[in-house]
């Protein structure tokens, strides 16, 4: 059996070695191979989808994507932070002065022009996703002792973005205002976010 290695053939017998016999029907093979290849590629693509889709939010995650907040205990001037989809949501009971300050601004000065009226449902309740639009840090300004930035709203300590009392970007690197999540008042003192 030792000769196995030695006698192993060096040159293979390729299709071309069969000469003219192979030429006949070459066209049909090409078309057939093309169709079969296309089928196989479609199949492989279809196989990829379940894998990709399995990484999208699952049904239990989607089911929890609403959060209800009771507003009754929040005094004027106070703010609370609630969790919605794993992110902090700022709920601020604004004072009349804060509302006035937010509405007096000349929109032309803003980087991301948006009137305060379009950012709230009821003027005294400001609800925003507390994630800086720059690189995702959580701005300061919820606690009374927090720095609130130069415009009396929020200040992001990561890269120094300043937001006003309507959560609009006024200074610093962030490109856009703090986002307002979809929410609705389900009663006078209760909102549902999401």
């Amino acid at each position: 059996m030792a000769e196995t290695l030695a006698t192993h053939p060096g040159t293979p017998l390729g299709p071309e070695a069969h000469g003219a016999a192979a030429e006949h029907g070459e066209k049909r093979r090409d078309f057939l191979t093309l169709v079969t290849g296309a089928f196989a590629v479609v199949g492989a693509g279809a196989i990829a989808w379940p894998f990709i889709h399995s990484l999208n939010p699952s049904r239990d995650v989607l089911a929890l994507s609403t959060t209800e907040v009771d507003l009754a205990p929040i005094q004027v001037g106070q703010a609370v932070t609630v969790v919605w989809r794993g992110k902090p949501v700022f709920v601020r009971h604004r004072t009349p002065q804060e509302i006035a300050a937010a509405r007096e601004v000349n929109l032309a000065e803003l980087r991301d022009p948006q009137p305060d009226e379009r950012r709230v449902i009821k003027p005294e309740w400001l609800v925003m996703v507390g994630v800086c639009t720059h690189l995702g840090c959580v701005p300061l300004g919820q606690k009374p002792t927090d720095p609130k930035g130069e415009y009396g709203g929020w200040f992001c300590p990561c890269h120094g973005s300043h937001y006003d009392t309507s959560g609009r970007i006024r200074k610093g690197p962030a490109p856009a205002n703090l986002a307002v999540p979809p929410y609705a008042f389900i009663s006078d003192t209760q909102i549902r976010i999401g």
Partner: protein, 257 residues
């Protein structure tokens, strides 16, 4: 030339049959189960929605007093054809524990669709204490967890009778033809007329057993219909692809054979 391959294929087939554990091994001891025709049987069966909804009612009004169904959420019920509002209403009939609140206290609130089905007992010890030491099993995957599957569940629910002469039934146990050992701690759960179905169906023991079994089969395999539908497409695709690949292979090998 092909003989070894054929022999091996036959042997493998026989082995798979021998190894297919569930039905064959069950047949050794237990009495043969009555063959109940369920809507979801066969290669293309689907869940009878009306039956499963009645089964849900049987579960909620009867079984849920002792048996949990903790892998299910109320939101899952939309798959049985219930509307969002109906699901919300069903969820709201139970009080679930939530918390801690801002004072650090746990509190009760009405259920929401995103809650799990409420379990009747807080833990296993409490369940045993309330049931003379027997643990009512969770029913989420009970149809997959018993040899005989849905047929067995149906048979068990309808298999209560007086013990045959000479058979002594222990204190607190009940005679059931289909339970392994024939003595089961669960008292006959279904009694005729126990539930009044909204759709006017007569609530016989057999009807309730069939409905609740359909519901539990759905609970165990909610993906069943989607799975079979996808399976049909994939097998068809592979059949066509198989034909094409075989033709290509024949073509390529034509000059060698």
């Amino acid at each position: 030339m092909r003989r070894p391959l054929l022999t091996l294929a036959a042997a493998l087939g026989a082995a798979l049959l021998a190894a297919a554990p569930a039905p064959l091994r069950a047949a050794e001891e237990a009495i043969a189960l009555p063959n109940t025709r369920f809507s979801f049987e066969g290669l293309f069966g689907t869940f009878d929605r009306a039956s499963a909804q009645r089964g849900l009612q049987v579960y909620m009004e009867v079984c849920a007093n002792c048996h949990s169904l903790r892998q299910l959420y109320y939101r899952n019920l939309t798959a049985l054809g219930l509307s969002d509002a109906e699901v919300r209403a069903i969820a709201a009939t139970v009080q679930v524990q939530d918390g801690p609140n801002d004072e650090g206290q746990m509190f009760e609130r009405p259920g929401r669709p995103s809650d799990r089905f409420r379990s009747p007992f807080p833990n296993e010890k409490a369940a045993r204490a309330a049931n003379n030491g027997a643990l009512p099993p969770d029913l989420s995957v009970i149809v997959k967890a018993r040899e005989g599957g849905a047929d067995y569940i149906y048979a068990l629910l309808t298999g209560y009778s007086d013990p045959p002469p000479g058979v002594e039934v222990m204190q607190g146990m009940h005679y059931n033809r289909y339970f392994p050992g024939h003595q089961i701690a669960m008292a006959p759960p279904l009694n005729a007329g126990q539930v009044s179905f909204h759709d006017g169906t007569q609530a016989t023991v057999e009807q309730m057993a069939r409905d609740v079994t359909t519901f539990l089969a759905w609970a165990a395999e909610p993906e069943l219909e989607e799975r079979r539908a996808l399976g049909v497409k994939i097998v068809l695709f592979l059949t066509v692809l198989g034909g094409l690949v075989y033709a290509v292979k024949r073509k390529i090998w034509a000059d060698v054979h």
